[in-house]
Each structure stands twice: as C-alpha cells, then as structure tokens.
C-alpha cells in the first residue's frame, strides 16, 4: 500500500499548558476525503491549527506524518509550500492589501520557496480570473482589500479560491460551512468538489452533517473531548445527525 497523505499518530496537543487533543490517530490516504465531526470544544480547531503549524499549539506527544515526512518541526509557511492548505473558519482581514496583491504575493512566495519561477502580475490575474469564475468571485472583489467588508459567504469563497489557486495536496477545511446560507453553502461545496482529485486529500472539519450531504466524504471520524471516539462510512454522519453527539460520546 502506498504512503498515506496524512498520518496522525497518538497526537497530544496542549494550548497554554492545557491538553486539548488527547491522543488522536487517523490515516488519510491520497485522494480521499475524510470528515472530522465534533461538537463545540471537542478540539476541531486545535486539530486544524496544529496541522497548519500555528504557534502556541504544542505537540506534547505523538507525531504527524505528511507523505511520510514528519511535519512537527516545520514552520507554517514551509508546510504551505509543501502543499498543505488550511481554509480558516474565520478568514482574516488585511486592510489596504488588495485581494489580488495578496494572492500574488502568496503564490509567488510559495513558488520562490520551491525554486520555481515567479509569475508576473498579468499571469496571476489570468489564473485568478479562471478560478474565480466558477466560485462567482467578481473582479470587484479582487480589487478590494483582502476580506475587508466581505460577507461570510464571500470570505469562504475566497478561501476556496485560494485553495484552487495554490493546488494543495492536502486541504484542511475548518468549519467552511459555518455562517453560510444554503445557496452559499452549495456554491462553496461545488467549488470543493471540483477540486477533488486522485492526488489530493481533504480533511473536512465540521460540526454539522449538512455540509457532508454536499461534500460526501469517504470516511467520517467523530471527535469528542480530544479523542476520536468513532470512525465509519458516510452513513455515520447521518447517524450523528439523528442521534446527536451526546449519545455518541457515551459510546
């Protein structure tokens, strides 16, 4: 069997000295989409920030392997360069920096770090326009400062646009459905589905099952109090929806 895209082995993570993740083990093969479902406070965001390498998320035990390579010591920007992408639950505003400038800076920073030639402004614009169309991201949005004054739906579409642009091997979607109405949710889900590929894996982290009717996962893991308490096929999400987290946690 080939090396999994992501292998999390007995991962313990502390934030401010308090242990949040208490031994997570999970294997995500190349080309698969797995969902991690859990209630508030179960450690969902901690897991996504830890995978992206955010400062302050201290791995106290266990390890994370990405394509067989230990990620633990890599800085966030190195992980991004290697093809790990995190779509944030709350995308951040950067006043005065137009969206297009930001996209170009990020794309070229990654390319530079990989010793690839950088793209000029025209080329980036062409690329971005191509990807933007499907997500209904207009020209006007690209000229505005990044995420400044964007609606919830616009912010999430911008995250997926970045994912399309950077073409990561591993995408982590942290509560991409939060704050979206049903139309916005469908649009985002279509964007994500269009990016499903044999050589790309996704970890879809969510509280609610509804996203998973649009992005159907290969497997579902239930996260509770910092541990994975149950794993199963897509039906598990339906079961959760029907029974609620409490019963599941009791298992």
């Amino acid at each position: 069997m080939s090396v999994p895209m992501l292998e999390i082995d007995d991962l313990h993570v502390a934030v401010d000295g308090r242990e949040i993740l208490k031994g997570i083990t999970l294997s995500l093969p190349a080309g698969e989409v797995h969902a991690v479902m859990g209630p508030n406070g179960s450690g969902k965001s901690t897991l996504s920030y830890t995978l992206a390498g955010r400062e302050g998320y201290e791995i106290t035990r266990g390890r994370i392997l990405y394509q067989g390579e230990d990620l633990t010591q890599l800085a966030p920007e190195e992980r991004a360069t290697k093809g790990i992408f995190l779509a944030l639950q709350y995308p951040v505003e950067i006043p005065g920096v137009t969206t297009l400038t930001f996209l170009k800076t990020a794309l070229n920073a990654q390319r530079r770090a990989r010793d690839e030639t950088e793209f000029d402004a025209m080329h980036v614009l062409k690329l971005v326009r191509e990807k933007a169309k499907a997500l209904k991201v207009g020209e006007e949005m690209l000229k505005r400062p990044l995420n400044a004054g964007f609606s919830g739906g616009e912010k999430k579409r911008m995250e997926i646009l970045q994912m399309a642009l950077f073409e990561p091997k591993l995408a982590i979607l942290d509560e991409t459905d939060s704050g979206l109405d049903i139309d916005a949710l469908k649009l985002v889900a279509e964007g994500v589905n269009a990016l499903r590929a044999l050589e790309r894996s996704m970890l879809v982290i969510t509280h609610y099952q509804r996203l998973l009717t649009h992005i159907v996962p290969d497997r579902v893991h239930v996260l509770s109090k910092g541990r994975i308490v149950k794993s199963g096929g897509p039906d598990l999400a339906m079961e959760l929806e029907a029974r609620g987290y409490e019963k599941m946690e009791a298992v």
Partner: protein, 485 residues
C-alpha cells in the same frame, strides 16, 4: 501591486543588510574650524561668495540664536547637544570651485551617488527627474539644468541663487519661516550651507519632477540645508527629497529649513523619503533630525501638499505645515513615520486656516516597533476670518510587539463657528491572526510584516510620485526587518 511584489523581493534580498547606505566616502574635505562663532559664519559666507546682505542676515540670526533655548516640549529624549563640538561646514576639496558641468564633478562623488542608487549622469537618470545632489555642505551636481531653463524654471543650489537671483531670494527667504521662528530654524539661518532653490514662473507646469538628494558624509559635522521653492501664479511643481548618511556611533545633527511659497492658483507637491541613519539595534548613533518645513498658500486658490515617508534618524522632530492664507486654498499632509529599535519620532503638521473656504486634509500613519516611540503632534487652527474652513484628520497608529509606544497629540483651535473639523484616530497591532494567515499561505514572516504595513500605509504611498513609490515601499519593509519574532 507590482511594487508590493518588488518590495517583498527586495526585503528577501536584503535580509541581514539592514542599512545599506551606511558606507563612508573617503574624500579629502575642507572644514570650518570646530564650533560655532562669528568667524565660522563669516567663513561659510565667504566660501559661498555671498553678498554682504546675506552675511548680515546670518549674523543677525546668530545673535538671536545665542539668546534662544532648545525646545523641550516634544516627546523625544536625548543627551544634551554640545553645539560647540561639531563642524558647521565641510566640503570635498575637489569641489572648491563649483563644477560647471557634470564632467567636472569629482568621480569619487559620482561613484558615491551611483552607490546610493542616484546616478548623476543624465542618460542614466530616471526619465523625467532632475536631481540636485548635496554632499555635506555643498551642492555637487544639478542635472537637466538646460531643459529646465528652456521652460523658464530655475532649479539650482541655493548658494548659486543667492548670487544669481538676489532679488527673488531676498524677497522670499525667511518670509515663511522667519529667522527667529524657533531654535533650530534660527540656527539654520545662521549657518545654512547649501540646499535647493526652485522658481517656477507664472503659468508654467514644471516639465519634470525635481529632486534633491542630501548626503551627510563627514563625521562630527552637522548638515544645515535650506530649501526655498516659489511657485508663481498658476504654476505647478512636484519636488522630492531623499536623505542618507553613513553608519556612525556618534549622533549627527541635521537641522534643515524648507520654505514653500505658492502664489495664486499655484500648486506645490513636496515629497520626502527620509532615510538618515537611524542608529543601531542598541540605539547607538544615528541622525538627530530637527527640521522646520512650512508652506504658505499666499494667493487665492493655491495648494500645497506635503507627503513624507520618515523611516530613518534616531530622532525626528518635524512638522511640515501649511499657512492657508489665500481664500479657497488647500493644504494636505500625508505622512508615514516608521520607528524601530530605539528610534523616536515626534512629527505631524500645522494647518493654519486664515482665508475663507480653506480646506485641509491630514492623513498620518505611524508605525512603531522594537522599543521605539512614535508621536503624532498636530495643530488645526481656524482664525476668525476663515469662514467655512474644513479639515479632516485621520491618525492611525500601528504597533508591532509590546515594547513600543504610539502617541497622538492633536490640537484643535477654532475661532469661527462655521468651521467643520473632523478627527479620526485608530491604534492597532499586527495581530497574531493576520500573521498566521499570511504564514499559512506560504508568506514568510518578514515579507508578511512588509505586506501588512504597506497595506496600512497605502493611502499615503499612493500620494508619492510613481518613480519613488516603489522605493518607498521597499524602504517600509526594510525599516521593519527584525521587528517581529
């Protein structure tokens, strides 16, 4: 946009090379005796071949200065300056006779400016920018003179203007910043050595950007330049100054005076990219920058716009101001002040509304990092006759790290009930969320800081002439290197 990319590229290129202008040119200098007395002033005046009236003007200023006290109201702290322990005149020996053309300029000086990125050969210059290069106390070269003369524009060292255009100089010198205006302006009036003179005649739109590049080279020497720009009725001129100095452990004094006069419907756009040596990470060395800059919108409908990017100097004390004397005049002040390590800046503007329907706009962006202190100090004053005066002030401060300070001291005086004055102020930090967001997109930390700060300053950077905006953006990134993490 392209500029931001270049900014970040440059920041990457220059990592570890924090102040690249810190070299010294080894050239034989002629100096006045050390210290300040009447003899030194006579020496300077004689060196410049000045007429008697100019010498008297200087001596009178010196008499007044001796009775004045150094101001202490600004939020800057520094050891007492010993005014007798410095040289007030230093000039390359090779320049003792003013060069008549670029061919006569000492190659060592040409090389110095080349190294600073200011090639003085006209073929290599930025298209459409004329340069006056001031090295310590003398102007060493002025480019594109012929082309400007054709348009009727006078652009020359002020020492030359005093000799060649005495009636213009006598009429306007000291008419905006009086000899006794303040301690540093008075000192400058006594000992100023060189600087730039510009006169744009009636109805002429100056065909190119004018620019002066100030370089301090000699040690233990102060630079006291004097700039006078006159825009006659209906004319337009855009002027830019740049400044650098070698890295030294000592503090060097720079006390300049700039006077702008805009007559009826004239417009002056004055931009500064100030990058004097700021001192090292421990706060050792650096330039003390005490500068008086003021513009007078003397005629109806005149406009003066100041744009400054202040990244250098150990201490900056500077308040480019506008006297809105004529009716319907407009004053603008756009400022970026960046302080890192132990730098201190106390800078802002004064908008003095005297005429009717006068308008002013202030946009100040202060960025503070390391252990630096950054103060915006501004005055908006509306006089009784100034019906319908308008001012909008926006002061934004950005803090990087938790050991620096940002202070805002706005004074507002309104003596006319029709005035409409607005003041907005914000203070923010580069948040961990913003930094992490950039990192997670593959943008390394220093580049991320440069990107975020350039975004914060965008409104002001957009005011700079295009040729210099890119340079300024790079500078913003470089000045903040090492400020995070």
């Amino acid at each position: 946009m392209a500029a931001v990319r270049e900014t970040t590229e440059r920041v990457a290129d220059l990592a570890g090379e924090k102040y690249k202008y810190g070299f010294v040119t080894d050239i034989e200098m002629e100096r006045a005796e050390k210290g300040l007395n009447e003899n030194v002033i006579r020496f300077i005046s004689a060196k410049k071949g000045e007429p008697e009236w100019m010498l008297e003007w200087r001596l009178e200023a010196f008499q007044r200065w001796k009775e004045m006290k150094e101001p202490t109201w600004a939020r800057v702290h520094y050891p007492k300056i010993d005014y007798q322990n410095a040289y007030y005149y230093a000039a390359p020996k090779s320049q003792s006779a003013a060069p008549k053309s670029l061919d006569e300029v000492d190659p060592k000086l040409l090389e110095t400016y080349q190294k600073l990125g200011i090639p003085l050969s006209e073929q290599k210059l930025l298209a459409g920018v004329a340069v006056d290069a001031v090295f310590d106390s003398v102007s060493v070269a002025t480019t594109f003179k012929a082309k400007l003369t054709e348009a009727g524009v006078i652009f020359c060292p002020i020492s030359e203007a005093i000799r060649d255009y005495p009636e213009l100089v006598r009429k306007y010198l000291g008419s905006v910043v009086p000899v006794t205006d303040n301690f540093f302006a008075t000192l400058n009036s006594a000992v100023f050595s060189d600087g730039t003179f510009v006169y744009v005649p009636k109805g002429v739109r100056c065909p190119m950007e004018l620019s002066t590049y100030f370089r301090i080279n000699a040690s233990e020497t102060g630079q006291f330049e004097r700039t006078l720009i006159i825009a006659d009725e209906g004319s337009y001129v855009s002027y830019l100054e740049g400044c650098t100095a070698p890295k030294r452990d000592e503090n060097q004094l720079h006390a300049a005076v700039v006077e702008l006069v805009a007559l009826e419907r004239a417009e002056i756009k004055y931009s500064t990219v100030q990058n004097w040596y700021p001192g090292d990470e421990e706060g050792k060395g650096g330039i003390y920058n005490f500068v008086t800059k003021r513009g007078d919108c003397r005629g109806k409908g005149a406009k003066i716009s100041w744009t400054q990017v202040e990244t250098g100097s150990a201490i900056t004390w500077k308040y480019p101001s506008c006297i809105l004397r004529g009716d319907d005049t407009v004053g603008e002040f756009y400022s970026i002040a960046i302080t890192n390590n132990f730098q201190q800046a106390d800078t802002g503007t004064k908008m003095i509304h005297l005429g009717r329907n006068t308008r002013s706009r202030i946009v100040s962006k202060g960025i503070s990092a390391g252990k630096a202190q950054n103060t915006y100090r501004g005055l908006v004053s509306v006089h009784p006759r100034a019906e319908n005066a308008r001012n909008h002030t926006q002061c934004d401060s950005l803090l990087i790290g938790s050991h620096c300070g940002a202070h805002t001291v706005p004074y507002i005086e309104s003596r006319n009930p029709t005035a409409k004055l607005e003041h907005e102020a914000t203070t923010s930090k580069i948040s961990d969320d913003q930094l992490f967001y950039c990192l997670a997109r593959g943008i390394p930390q220093e580049e991320a800081v440069a990107l975020i700060v350039n975004g914060f300053c965008r409104e002001v950077l957009q005011q700079l002439p295009m040729e210099f905006a890119v340079e300024a953006q790079k500078l913003v990134g470089i000045s903040l290197e090492g400020s995070v993490g």
